[in-house]
C-alpha cells in the first residue's frame, strides 16, 4: 500500500497522496506535505459522505472518482466502499499522467483488498463466521 501511494506522490506536481479508510483514518501517506495526512483524511471522508448523499438524492450510484479543481490546486479522489485514495496537486501541474496513475493505483489497491477478504461463505453460515472458525 505504501508503495502505491509513494508512486502516486512521485508524479510531477503531486504535493501529497493519501490512502485512508472510509472514516478518514490515514493508512498510508507520501509526498512533501505528509503532515496534512489526518486533516486531509478527515476532510476527504466528509466530502465522500456528502457526495454519496447528494448522489443518492439524484438517484445516482455513489461517485467512484471525484476531481475538484480550484484556483490554487486540484484534488483527485478515488472513492471505494472501504477506502479513499486522495492526491493533492499543484495548480498548473499536468493532469494527463495523474488520471491513469490514479486508476492504476486504485485497481492495485482493490486487488490487494480482494486478496485479503475472508473466504467465501460455507453452507449455512456467513463468510465472517467461516473466517472466525478457520482463524
Amino acid at each position: 500500500m505504501k508503495q502505491v501511494v509513494e508512486a502516486l506522490a512521485g508524479l510531477g506536481g503531486v504535493r501529497v497522496a493519501l490512502l485512508a479508510l472510509k472514516d478518514g483514518v490515514p493508512v498510508a501517506c507520501a509526498g512533501e506535505e505528509v503532515q496534512l495526512a489526518e486533516e486531509l483524511g478527515a476532510l476527504a471522508a466528509a466530502l465522500a459522505l456528502e457526495l454519496e448523499r447528494a448522489s443518492a438524492e439524484q438517484s445516482l450510484a455513489p461517485p467512484r472518482r471525484a476531481w475538484i479543481k480550484a484556483s490554487r490546486g486540484c484534488a483527485a479522489l478515488e472513492l471505494r466502499e472501504d477506502w479513499l485514495l486522495v492526491a493533492l496537486v499543484d495548480a498548473g501541474a499536468p493532469l494527463e499522467q495523474l488520471r491513469p496513475a490514479l486508476e492504476a493505483a486504485a485497481s492495485r489497491l482493490s486487488r490487494a483488498g480482494r486478496r485479503q477478504e475472508p473466504p467465501p461463505a460455507l453452507p449455512g453460515g456467513s463468510g465472517r463466521e467461516a473466517a472466525r472458525e478457520i482463524g
Binding site: G12, G13, L36, E39, L40, L43, A44, A46, L47, E50, L51, R53, A54, S55, E57, Q58, S59, L60, A61, P62, P63, R64, R65, A66, W67, I68, K69, A70, S71, R72, G73, C74, A75, L88, D90, A91, G92, A93, P94, E96
Partner: protein, 361 residues
C-alpha cells in the same frame, strides 16, 4: 530478452515514422512522430518535433496542443532534476531557475514557497523579487489586499537593495495602474525614467498617467476598492447583451440538454435553479443534489487552501456529473460516459451565461 525485443521494435517504428515524415511532412506525420518520442520517454525530442510541426502547420490545433504538453513534460523533468540538485548541492542559480520554472508552470504557491525558502538561505533581493512576483500573481487571482501589500513590501525591499534595477519599479507601476492608483503609477514610471532617461515609451506613459493622476485615489484606497468590487481598473463590467433576454438562458439550457449523451443540464444562481432533462420532484432533487455537491466541494477546497472552486467532475458507474463554477453562478451537465471537449465547452458557455448579468436592456 522481452525488453530488448520491445526496444528494437520501438526503434524500428521510430525510423519508420521518420521516413514517413520525410516523404510527406503532414501535420499528422509530425504528430505521430512526436507522440512516439513521448511514448519512449524522450520529452525533449517530442518537443522538438512538435515545435517543428507547429511552425510548419500553424493552424493545427493538435500539434499546438502537443507542443504545450511536451513543454510541460520537459519542464516537469527539469523540475524533478532541480529538486534533486537542490537537495544535494543548493546554490542561487538553481534556486532562481526552480522559482522561475514553478512560476512558469502556474504553480504560484510552490513558487512562493521556493522563493521564501531561498530568502531564508541568503537569496537576498532576487529572492524577494521572486516572492513579489508570486504574490502579485496571487493578488491578480484572488484580489486580496493583503497579497498586494506583501508584494509591495517585497518590492520596496528589493528596490532598496537593487537601486539600479528597473524590475521592482516596473512591477509597482503595473500594480498601481491595474488598481487605478494613477498617481502612484506615475511616480513609479518617473523612477523608471530616472533609470532610463529619454525612453520614448516611458515618456508617453508618464504623460498619460499624468493626465489620469489628477484627483486619483491613493494606493491603499484603490486596493480596498478592488477587494470590495472584485474588478481592476481595466476590467469593464461584462456586457449583458449576450443573454440579456429573459429567455436566453433557458434556451441555452434546452440546447445543452438536447445534445447527444447529455441526460440533464442544470444552472444554479443564488436560490434559483433551472433544470432541463428532469421534471417535478426529480428536478428539485437534481437541483438540491447539485447545490449540496458544490457546497461540499467548495468547503473541501477552502479548508485545504486550494482557493476558489472552478470545476468538479464526479464519475459514477454509468454517468458523469460535470460542474463548472463561476463567481455568482454554476452550471452542471449529467453525461453518459466521459465528458468530451465539446461537453466541457458547452458547460463553460452555460456557466458564463449564468454568471452574466440578467438585467433587461
Amino acid at each position: 530478452m522481452k525488453h530488448i525485443l520491445r526496444r528494437v521494435l520501438a526503434a524500428g517504428r521510430l525510423r519508420e515514422l521518420e521516413r514517413a515524415l520525410a516523404s510527406s511532412p503532414t501535420a499528422q506525420a509530425y504528430g505521430e512522430l512526436a507522440q512516439e518520442h513521448a511514448r519512449r520517454g524522450d520529452a525533449v525530442a517530442a518537443l522538438e518535433v512538435a515545435r517543428e510541426g507547429a511552425a510548419a502547420h500553424r493552424a493545427d490545433v493538435h500539434l499546438n496542443r502537443l507542443v504545450e504538453r511536451s513543454t510541460a513534460l520537459v519542464r516537469e523533468e527539469r523540475l524533478r532534476e532541480l529538486a534533486r540538485q537542490l537537495q544535494a548541492a543548493p546554490r542561487d542559480a538553481l534556486r532562481a531557475e526552480h522559482c522561475a520554472l514553478l512560476f512558469e508552470a502556474g504553480r504560484v504557491e510552490r513558487a512562493l514557497e521556493a522563493a521564501i525558502e531561498w530568502e531564508r538561505h541568503g537569496g537576498g533581493a532576487e529572492a524577494r523579487l521572486r516572492q513579489a512576483q508570486a504574490r502579485l500573481r496571487r493578488y491578480a487571482e484572488g484580489r486580496r489586499r493583503e497579497d498586494a501589500q506583501l508584494a509591495l513590501a517585497a518590492l520596496d525591499s528589493a528596490a532598496s537593495a537593487l537601486p539600479l534595477d528597473p524590475r521592482p519599479w516596473r512591477a509597482r507601476a503595473e500594480l498601481a495602474a491595474k488598481v487605478g492608483a494613477w498617481a502612484e503609477a506615475r511616480a513609479a514610471v518617473g523612477r523608471l525614467l530616472e533609470l532610463a532617461p529619454g525612453d520614448a515609451a516611458l515618456e508617453a506613459r508618464h504623460r498619460t498617467l499624468g493626465a489620469l493622476a489628477v484627483g486619483s485615489k491613493g494606493l491603499d484606497a484603490a486596493l480596498r476598492e478592488v477587494e470590495l468590487g472584485g474588478r481592476f481598473s481595466d476590467e469593464v463590467e461584462e456586457p449583458a447583451a449576450e443573454v440579456s433576454g429573459s429567455n436566453a438562458l433557458p434556451q441555452l439550457l434546452a440546447r445543452a440538454g438536447a445534445r447527444p449523451m447529455v441526460r440533464a443540464a442544470c444552472v444554479l444562481r443564488g436560490a434559483t435553479a433551472l433544470v432541463h432533462g428532469e421534471k417535478g420532484a426529480s428536478a428539485e432533487r437534481a437541483a438540491r443534489g447539485l447545490r449540496d455537491s458544490l457546497a461540499a466541494s467548495r468547503a473541501f477546497a477552502r479548508k485545504l487552501g486550494l482557493g476558489a472552486l472552478r470545476e468538479v467532475q464526479l464519475d459514477h458507474d454509468d454517468c458523469t456529473s460535470a460542474y463548472e463554477c463561476g463567481e455568482v453562478a454554476s452550471a452542471a451537465l449529467r453525461i453518459e460516459g466521459a465528458p468530451s471537449v465539446e461537453h466541457k465547452e458547452l458547460l463553460r458557455e452555460l456557466a458564463r451565461a449564468a454568471c452574466a448579468r440578467q438585467e433587461r436592456p
